[in-house]
Symmetry: C2
Subunit: 174 residues, 2 copies
């Protein structure tokens, strides 16, 4: 089933730089059957998990996380780049290839004990996802799983999220 | 009906700067009934319009546009800030209070004659929305309507989109 999803993801070679094979989900999104199949697969996996909040990571995580929150009948919470959320935030730094970056969540977005599902389009080295996991824990959320559309398995992002449940729809070598 | 949606949008005074009353939709999103009510309202409005693609404008437009595309059974297309889309793009500049900004869309995202719905969270002066409209026209799309959650009516964004159909779920003075 996920082979048909994988076949709709376009690979753009050498983007954003030489040597990177960029996995472009926009070709999946614009395909009505492909988009629906992806969301339905996630819904089927999580519909009995009593999720309280789906967290989408800016900005491609919003595209999959928001329809899923709608179908699950739960709330949607954005995790965003610094300076985008207007109320009081918890923030978390993470390491990039060169330097660091930061993500933020509203402090009142999670109630202690909320069952949380984190959604993003891609897991590579899992820098962003592990920072998101830390934000959920800081606010007292119970992380049920981290779900991704694409996993770049050679980059071993799962190692950085050891102890957490991880799910990805399709895998690419790197 | 939309009063209950409006009541769930938080106003953050003086953000991001003195004098601005920021209308924060995150309080609506995290409320399961509020989020569902908003999406259902949009779905009811567009379900018989034979929309081919919902375009969401980065990044809050993704949160409303993606669930709507799912429900309508059509494709979802992101319009993004420059440098985020990996394949060949059409781009459009627009004017800000100081200086200019730019948005992009993949050239292959729209097929000539596609019936298009543009979705964003907010219409203020409509700089982004009118640039998005221009991108749709450049690619030969037929713009059915522009839908927003919040309209800041004092900023007269509708004037800049004259000739297009505009819908907003809730209105604030400014």
């Amino acid at each position: 089933m996920t082979e048909s999803i994988k076949s709709k993801i376009r690979t753009v070679p050498h983007w954003p730089k030489e040597g990177i094979m960029f996995r472009d989900i926009t070709t999946l999104l614009k395909d009505p059957e492909g988009f629906k199949e992806t969301i339905d697969l996630l819904f089927k996996r999580y519909k009995d998990k009593k999720i309280d909040k789906v967290i989408g990571i800016e900005s491609r995580g919003f595209i999959f996380g928001a329809p899923l929150a709608y179908l699950l009948g739960c709330g949607f919470v954005p995790i965003r780049k610094p300076g985008k959320l207007p109320a009081e935030c918890e923030s978390e730094e993470y390491t990039l290839e060169y330097g660091t970056d930061k993500i933020e969540i509203h402090k009142d977005a999670i109630t202690k004990g909320d069952k949380i599902l984190i959604v993003d389009d891609l897991i590579a080295t899992a820098g962003t996802a592990s920072a998101a996991r830390n934000l959920v824990k800081k606010l007292g959320g119970e992380l049920v799983e981290c779900a991704f559309i694409v996993e770049l398995i050679d980059l071993k992002g799962r190692d950085k999220l050891k102890g957490e449940n991880i799910y990805s729809v399709v895998e690419f070598e790197g």
